[in-house]
């Protein structure tokens, strides 16, 4: 029993150290990519296209719906307590600081995290990774880094779009149900939006982007021989991405509320 626990612990510590080593290797290669970045540039562009541009429709719809629901509910309920103006801080807290980055991360995990883990997994099974190595192409630089940068940048940009649609787009939807004066709405939104909200949102989306990409790539490369490992590793990548994103979010929120 004790021996089992010990082995389990040692294996997990080893896996953690290996994961950290993998992460630092990607980081190192990223610096190299920024310097050279010729061969992998196309891969990066395609990654942003798949992860960012193609997810824009989903993101914008969710953002508009969420923002509209908050406004409609808030405008209906808050004035009853004489706190009608609280709608703006609530909207910013939910859209910009809390749910925005998290929902974007969830969508990216579902769309691109799974795609990356599956693609790299099948690359391994089909010996494409070995073919890259044999051709002198470092799979970390060529496959991992563009995906890492692409997902991170995409999540950051999607988060910006989420904010844009959530704060501005939702206003126009609300007009059909509960008209608010445009000048007043935008003035108060801009007045209640603080740089620290934006910084917190950006940091979150960057951290989530790093987590999702590294975890998905890691589990993709963990596939060894059989194609049946691919779905298993994909599920693990999704689960681990969720957990790490939640933990990172809690950590960032903790820092935010300590600082402000």
């Amino acid at each position: 029993m004790l021996g089992k626990l010990g082995r389990w612990m040692i294996n997990h510590i080893k896996a953690l150290l290996y994961g950290l080593g993998f992460f630092f290797q990607i980081m190192k290669a990223t610096i190299g990519f920024a310097r050279k970045g010729q061969v992998g540039r196309k891969v990066l562009t395609m990654q942003i296209l798949f992860t960012g541009v193609q997810a824009l429709t989903n993101i914008s719809l969710i953002a508009i719906a969420l923002g509209a629901v908050i406004i409609i509910q808030g405008v209906g309920i808050l004035p009853q307590f004489g706190q009608g103006d609280l709608i703006y801080p609530i909207l910013i807290t939910i859209i910009t600081r809390e749910l925005g980055p998290m929902l974007c991360a969830f969508i990216i995990i579902a769309r691109s995290g799974t795609a990356i883990a599956t693609e790299i997994g099948s690359n391994v099974v089909n010996h494409e990774i070995e073919a890259y190595i044999a051709a002198g192409i470092d799979p970390i630089s060529y496959l991992a880094v563009p995906r890492f940068i692409g997902v991170t940048i995409s999540l950051l940009l999607l988060n910006l779009y989420f904010n844009f649609f959530g704060l501005i787009g939702s206003y126009f939807i609300t007009q059909f149900i509960h008209p608010i004066q445009a000048a007043e709405y935008f003035r108060k939104i801009l007045y209640n939006l603080h740089p620290e909200d934006i910084v917190s949102s950006i940091i979150k989306s960057l951290v989530f982007g790093v987590i999702i990409s590294v975890v998905s790539i890691y589990y993709g490369f963990k596939v060894e021989q059989s194609s049946t490992e691919i779905p298993q590793m994909t599920i693990k990548a999704v689960g681990m991405s969720f957990v790490l994103c939640m933990l990172a979010d809690a950590f960032i929120v903790l820092i935010y509320y300590t600082l402000y």
Binding site: N126, E128, E130, A131, A134, G136, I137
Partner: protein, 250 residues
Amino acid sequence: MYDIYLKDITLIKNERKILADIETHFPVGKTTVIIGPSGCGKSTLLKVAAALIPVDHGNIFVNDKNLRKMNTSGLLDFRKNSSFVFQDAALWANQSVYQNMSLPLRLHFPEMDKDTHDNKIMEMLDLVGYTDSIHLRPAALSNGERKMISLARSLITSPGLIFMDNPLVLVDPSVAKKMRKLILDLHNTEATIIANFSSQELIKQMADYLIVMKDGKLVEAGTAESVQNSTDPVTSAIINSLLNQNQDYI
């Protein structure tokens, strides 16, 4: 030109020794063929020699330089001058045939102008006879076409060292015939070839040196003639089962 020397190579997977204390040498400009029963570790040894999989113990020396201690440019130079023909074509699935051919060229010859680059690709595709497939993705090709294009891709940088892992396996006879001819042509160049063939004809026609393996261990290594005439019972049993059959066992 590369002279490869493997020293005390041991590879363990799932607590099983895939390769055990292998020490051997692949002479420059010659064709060395690794033979042995199925699952004896031929492909693995080939990949270890090509530095595609890391080993648990032992070292690989390339021109007397330890591959583990080689710097990036040295390793890149080794990759530029060597290539690997995989058992399953291993074409990059998300890239077209053109892109599959282009990637090694762009990496190793960044200064090459576009015309030369494109001509080189067309020349190689012409050699294997699939110029029409240039803009197709591997998924749109037949297995034989993929194998031929994979061979063309591995030859595009004109490597001096070629590793071949059963290129003729699962190929229909007409494609196999074409491919056999191409491989035999390579034998007539100065390239060093390290191969794992299951074709009796290829082994007989190409092998300058033979390495006999069984259960992850090296049984015997030497010139093709000496190995074929070996008195070692294990070696002669393997030779008998593989080479002295009436039919090609591909």
